[in-house]
């Protein structure tokens, strides 16, 4: 999961794409932050930005009705939800490629 996501960030770094996380490790606590830092290394390095899930009330995951982890939302350049929970690596790249192309086309107009 994380290695593939990292490869997407790298692959599309010059195109209108952003991978954003909503992290549930309670990094506002010392213990949570320690876990986060200890694991965030090597193959599991996370190179993208995440919201703290608990930084909002209710938790962001509750507001978004997340029932299982990981949950994926695909949001286009206009903020519209296009897909949910597309998980296969090939399918992920396919739908994102299409969304990035749409963002580029809109930027040219």
């Amino acid at each position: 999961m994380i290695p593939h996501e990292r490869s997407l960030v790298e692959k599309w770094k010059d195109r209108p794409f952003a991978l954003l996380g909503v992290n549930s490790d309670n990094t506002s606590t010392e213990k949570g932050m320690a876990t986060y830092k200890a694991k965030n290394t090597g193959d599991l390095s996370v190179t993208w930005r995440s919201f703290r899930n608990e930084s909002n009330t209710p938790n962001i995951s509750d507001d978004w009705r997340v029932r299982g982890w990981p949950t994926l939302y695909y949001i286009d350049h206009e903020g519209v939800i296009k897909h949910k929970n597309v998980r296969g690596e090939a399918e992920m790249e396919e739908v994102l490629e299409e969304m990035i192309a749409a963002a580029e086309a809109a930027a040219k107009k």
């Binding site: 954003l20 490790d25 703290r52 982890w69 695909y74 949001i75 350049h77 939800i81 963002a103 809109a106």
Partner: protein
């Protein structure tokens, strides 16, 4: 010991079934509404006793470094479901049976046969009554124990009942079920019918809230804003990324 204490507490708190039966034999039936209230009340009491006991057991087990047996997590619904079933049979075929059938749907935790019987009885004897409107809300709850029959009964009431208010209640229940299953289109369709059918302010407000909730995260709608902080405590927003394709991933290292 705990188990015996709990059993004794349960027996003490449910004289309802026994009373109703002896009354029935002497020809003076207990008022079904009062019987229902007594049953609900004693069940609430038993549940709170059970919860306290469970908390105590968990605490004790934690202190001793032991595991709480699985059985401790089972709520004491069995006796109450049986009592409700007796009442429902006593009033078979009349509207007075419906609240007891509803009680079974609402409170059964593993009494599969009773649930199946209750759904079947509602479908065969009460589907056209107005009383069924008060229990349709519980049909989605029993999807594990009587999924297919409960779904078809709910749909029958939602699509065909002659009383508009009853239909509306069933449509709201079905929309909630669809929404929970991520079937936003089905939920929206039902809620739109609700808006056409009813002028009742409370039901309309419920439908509007449900519609907003379903639409909020549906494919094709604008994602809700996230205005939060990152893992280092720095503020940022989801809308900062407009113009880009965003993959939003709810995750954790755990």
């Amino acid at each position: 010991m705990l188990r015996h204490a709990l059993a004794a507490a349960l027996l003490l708190s449910i004289p309802v079934g026994a009373v109703a039966q002896s009354d029935a034999t002497t020809g003076t039936q207990q008022d079904p509404q009062a019987a229902y209230q007594a049953l609900s009340k004693s069940y609430a009491k038993a549940m709170s006793v059970w919860q306290d006991e469970l908390e105590a057991k968990i605490k004790k087990a934690q202190e001793a470094g032991e595991r709480v047996p699985r059985s401790a997590y089972a709520p004491p619904s069995g006796d109450f479901v049986s009592t409700a079933q007796e009442h429902a049979k006593e009033h078979a075929g009349t509207d007075a049976a419906v609240p007891f059938l509803g009680f079974i749907l609402k409170n059964a935790t593993r009494e599969r046969n009773a649930v199946k019987w209750a759904v079947k009885t509602l479908a065969s004897e009460h589907v056209e009554s107005n009383a069924i409107g008060d229990v349709v809300d519980y049909l989605p709850k029993v999807s594990r124990m009587a999924g297919r029959t409960a779904r078809s009964l709910l749909s029958d009431v939602a699509d065909n009942h002659s009383n508009k208010t009853v239909r509306v209640k069933a449509l709201l229940a079905r929309a909630r079920q669809s929404g929970a299953a991520d079937k936003a289109d089905d939920a929206v369709a039902d809620l739109e019918v609700v808006m056409e059918l009813t002028t009742d302010a409370d039901l309309l407000a419920e439908a509007k809230d449900a519609l907003a909730e379903v639409r909020k995260l549906a494919i094709g709608t604008v994602a809700p804003e996230i205005d939060g902080v990152d893992v280092n405590g720095v503020k940022f927003k989801l809308s900062d990324y407009r113009g880009k394709a965003v993959l939003l991933d709810f995750w954790g290292f755990w």
